[in-house]
């Protein structure tokens, strides 16, 4: 087994296990992630002195079980990543396929919209939106979902341009098939493998951006155990209890790494399947 496949399997393992943990979170958590215990604040994780039995990763500044919050945080990260990718994927793919297929003026408009999007600073927009409507899970998903589509659009556009000149598209046109059919059944299945790779990259980016927004206080609101928020809340204690910032940081790093490895693997695997 070569190294690339090993990395891809590692990615699959990380993403898969995180997904399973996120789905079954209520059955896996030893404690209620929202339950505070002010007597048992800042208990150390199991590998340090001052650990408390039953709290494997210790407790935070309000005495909430850190492992339980971490597990629920995986739920939030993956949910945000998935919803953002669905939202941005729909927008970006539609724009890109339309521009790439029709060309001409429609393409010029699509390119203009993409360029406009690239000129928008993401964090500043998120800041503005949150200060207007307040921060919530939905606002984060919509803000990221409505802004992170440009890579989908660029990739969908160029791959559509390649596919649209192939004879099977001409054959479908000559068969009397509708434009709708050609876009959905002839072109989309043949560019999907490129889009899957973009989706993994965007998902990783969305998770990181959510963490960044939460860290800035612009993401999901406070009692929710987002990893970014955990890091943000822990930063006041990091000099004396560095693990409160380390644990969610490592979780974030591992998940994003896993998604990117999986994306690389999918690109190799889907590319090979097409060439076979």
């Amino acid at each position: 087994m070569n190294l690339r496949r090993l990395f891809a399997l590692l990615g699959l393992l990380i993403v898969g296990s995180t997904a399973i943990i996120a789905v079954f979170a209520p059955y896996l958590t030893p404690h209620d992630p929202f339950l505070q215990n002010l007597d048992g604040r800042m208990a150390a994780p199991f590998w340090l002195e001052g650990t408390v039995p039953g709290h494997l990763f210790g407790t935070d500044q309000l005495g909430r079980d850190y492992l339980s919050r971490l597990i629920y945080g995986a739920r939030i990260s993956l949910l945000i990543g998935t919803l953002v990718v669905i939202c941005s994927g729909l927008i970006g793919t539609s724009l890109g396929v339309l521009g790439g297929y029709f060309g001409g003026r429609i393409d010029a408009v699509v390119m203009f919209v993409i360029t406009c999007r690239l000129a928008i600073p993401l964090i500043l927009v998120a800041l503005t939106v949150v200060s207007f409507v307040g921060s919530s899970f939905t606002v984060v998903v919509l803000t990221l979902g409505l802004l992170l589509w440009e890579r989908f659009a660029v990739v969908a556009r160029t791959t559509t341009m390649q596919v649209r000149n192939l004879d099977y598209v001409a054959a479908a046109q000559a068969s009397g098939a509708s434009t709708w059919h050609i876009l959905l059944r002839e072109i989309l299945p043949n560019i999907a493998h490129h889009l899957v790779v973009v989706a993994t990259l965007e998902m990783a980016l969305a998770i990181l951006l959510e963490a960044a927004l939460s860290f800035l206080g612009l993401g999901v609101p406070s009692p929710l155990p987002s990893w970014g928020l955990m890091i943000s809340e822990a930063k006041d204690y990091m000099y004396f209890s560095p693990w409160v910032i380390m644990i969610p940081g490592v979780a974030l790093f591992v998940l994003v790494l896993g998604i990117n490895l999986l994306g690389d693997g999918l690109r190799d695997w889907l590319g090979a399947a097409r060439d076979a």
């Binding site: 004879d167 099977y168 001409a170 054959a171 046109q173 068969s175 009397g176 098939a177 059919h181 043949n190």
Partner: protein
């Protein structure tokens, strides 16, 4: 005997493409099809030959309605092609493309590929299944192939699938754009025979585009020779091959006798200075390469000369009526 009806009537068809020549150089116009007129009789096989880049594939796409005309008109079965909707056109005229590896969507099953024209006409369910199975059998493919993917088929089988798809709606006209040139030599003959059988069975009209003169001689009733977007000579096949009139036709025919006939683009022995369709020579467009060129050819544009069922566009050619040996 009544004269056979005209299936396709191309009237001074032109198709220009605008190309960007670079950021500051503006655009240049490529005259891919530059005033082609031809008539295809119902039930005949009409060949179009020429080097690659002469505009024959563009002409095929114009006849199939896949590209809009820049000017001129194409009448199919007496109706203007541009006035027909996509579905009506599909019932009348269908394509067979050169490369069955790119003309079949790799994501669809054979049944879906062959059934697509039916689906587009709103025919589904059992009727679609029966007609697909019938057509697959007719082109010589086992019925079990219907559930396979194109990747599991050989080149010859794929081209049979493409032919089945083209005929499943029982169109009257099939445009074959180099239908055999991507296939192994051993398979080419099978596909040509299949096309000939199907023509006889369904009374099809073929427009047959090729750079392979041997194939054209074998299957076509009439041949038009294309050069730089125009038809320079047009005659019944036997006469064209016996008494080529245009110097370009002569050069093409001479190239057939090279030791490797029909393999790839023939070396026409005219040098490789293939002229640029964006910058067409003055006068006769063939004059820079013409072995028989005379001074007037550089300035004077030849008009088409007709006679004895033939057409030639050359200043030096004798009037076709004397060139032709067959009585009218």
């Amino acid at each position: 005997m009544t004269k056979p009806a005209i299936a396709i009537d191309v009237q001074d068809a032109k198709r220009l493409f605008t190309q960007s020549a670079g950021a500051f150089a503006g655009t240049r116009v490529v005259r891919a099809v530059d005033g082609v007129s031809l008539q295809v009789r119902e039930g005949s096989c009409f060949g179009i030959v020429g080097e690659s880049g002469c505009g024959k594939s563009t002409l095929a796409r114009l006849i199939m309605g896949l590209l809009p005309l820049s000017s001129g008109d194409i009448l199919v079965d007496g109706q203007r092609l541009s006035a027909m909707d996509r579905k009506a056109r599909a019932r009348l005229i269908q394509p067979v493309f050169q490369d069955p590896f790119s003309s079949l969507n790799p994501r669809h099953s054979i049944a879906d590929l062959v059934g697509l024209p039916l689906t587009a006409q709103g025919i589904a369910g059992r009727e679609r299944g029966t007609r697909v199975a019938e057509m697959l059998e007719r082109v010589g493919l086992p019925g079990a192939i219907a559930n396979r993917q194109p990747a599991q088929l050989s080149g010859g089988q794929r081209q049979r699938v493409a032919i089945a798809r083209a005929l499943v709606l029982r169109p009257r006209i099939v445009v074959c754009d180099e239908p055999t040139s991507a296939l192994d030599v051993s398979v080419q003959a099978q596909i040509l025979n299949l096309l000939a059988d199907l023509q006889a069975e369904f009374g099809l009209t073929y427009v047959f585009i090729s750079h392979n003169l041997a194939v054209v001689e074998h299957v076509c009733d009439e041949v038009a020779v294309m050069y730089l977007g125009r038809i320079v000579e047009h005659a019944p096949t036997a006469e064209l091959f016996e008494t080529p009139t245009h110097p370009y036709t002569k050069a093409l025919l001479a190239s057939v006798l090279t030791p490797e006939p029909g393999l790839g683009i023939p070396d026409v022995g005219l040098g490789d200075a293939y002229p640029d369709p964006a910058n067409i020579p003055t006068g006769c467009r063939f004059h820079p390469r013409c072995p028989a060129g005379q001074p007037p050819c550089i300035t004077e544009t030849p008009a088409p000369r007709f006679g004895a069922g033939r057409m030639v566009e050359c200043l030096l050619a004798p009037p076709p009526s004397t060139a032709s040996v067959s009585p009218v």
